[in-house]
Symmetry: none
Subunit: 238 residues, 2 copies
């Protein structure tokens, strides 16, 4: 996904640096600043390993110029519409953004205190609002960026592929069946009451199901069963 | 959702304040600090309207104490397992967390530089990793908190509905600890190799964590362990 982050009149350098850092965390690097108050050492320090994002930022005198070349402009707001009539602030959630993203996507964040002005929101194709507690909905700009860029990152196709198998290969039906078979042998060995076996098996099955148990985990557990059965067989004493 | 945020040895006050702010944005307020370097004015300034969260934080001398009263402990890591063998860092994504959250949920964040130590991750039932660009995966702690608390906040609405009784009461921290103790007794009885015990325990812990194992399920499993230990003790032959 081709993302540009635009900060309109950021007051604190720390916020510029913090946004740069979270951009790089999610693989984005194109930063535009509209009339920043100042930009220098503090921003670089907070950016940490994303100093390159700060250093290569583009400074423009207007939001209009910063938006040039965008295919879709997404404005952000913590303030909600006061009625359904207020189309200006009719919003998508961060999770819904991936459905509207195409080409060059610009995400526009407003000032620390007053956010984006109505005329700036009007320049945006879409408005996004992060669901928050109504008692304190105003997020720090870099936190809002973290949530939105995280959603965009997840929404991109490469990511969807990468996510699979993060826990390791889930155990196949056969592997799980073999485990249950093994467990039954063990229950036999300890003379576990016949009428309770089915329930015990079901408990284990449910836990494994909810946990999406992996092949590797099953191998460890079967190692324990093997050792236990061996001990119970008294073979080790022979 | 009843969430506690635990910061282990935070170095920068600014980060404490920033975490407090994002907590309040998502309606959470219980902040624990384990051995913070300092805490004062800077934290309050960055916290902005969440100064009350900073002011009411609880300071503890150890992670163990900070975790007291938790039903599930979720550790965070930017570092991934180097192979599928590393059960310690087998992780869930932030979006998957809502499926394991029940009762008092503690989210544990590590130090700015080295994160959580292995022994600290071992105290956690589940590990969460935020999918990031592999070139710069280390997020600022308050950005990581933003993403995770955002997901918990979104999950809490659907979660509240799901929670009602469908699985039964989740096992408490103490019940799980008792089970692990019982399991260790069993591993001793079968002369399970000393160097493999910790790994076996971790495998079980991770499976239980992901499955949000219930009290009732643990009772069934402990019944099996009890029977097995009894058999192995040869008492039944007497």
């Amino acid at each position: 996904m081709d993302v540009r982050v635009i900060l309109v009149e950021p007051k604190l350098e720390e916020n510029i640096g913090a946004v740069a850092r979270v951009m790089k965390n999610f693989g984005f690097s194109e930063l535009y600043l509209v009339r920043p108050r100042s930009i220098g050492r503090k921003a670089l320090t907070v950016a940490s390993h994303a100093a390159d994002v700060v250093e290569s930022c583009v400074i423009t005198p207007s939001l209009e110029e910063a938006l040039r070349g965008s295919d879709i402009a997404i404005g952000t707001t913590a303030k909600l519409a006061t009625s359904e009539r207020k189309h200006l602030r009719a919003f998508l959630t961060p999770r819904e953004l991936k459905n509207v993203c195409r080409g060059k996507v610009s995400i526009v964040f407003g000032r620390e205190d007053v956010g984006l002005l109505n005329e700036e929101l009007r320049m945006c194709d879409v408005v996004v609002h992060i669901p928050t507690d109504r008692r304190y909905p105003v997020m720090n700009v870099s936190h809002a960026a973290a949530v939105i860029l995280y959603e965009l990152y997840l929404g991109s196709k490469t990511q969807r592929k990468r996510e699979r198998g993060h826990l390791g290969k889930p155990a196949s039906f056969e592997e799980r069946a073999q485990f249950y078979e093994h467990l039954l042998q063990f229950l036999d060995k300890i003379q576990y009451a016949e009428h309770k076996k089915e329930r015990a098996l079901l408990v284990v099955k449910r836990i494994f199901g909810r946990a999406a148990v992996t092949s590797r985990e099953l191998r460890t557990l079967r190692g324990i069963l093997r050792k236990a059965i061996w001990c119970l067989s008294g073979e080790h004493a022979a």
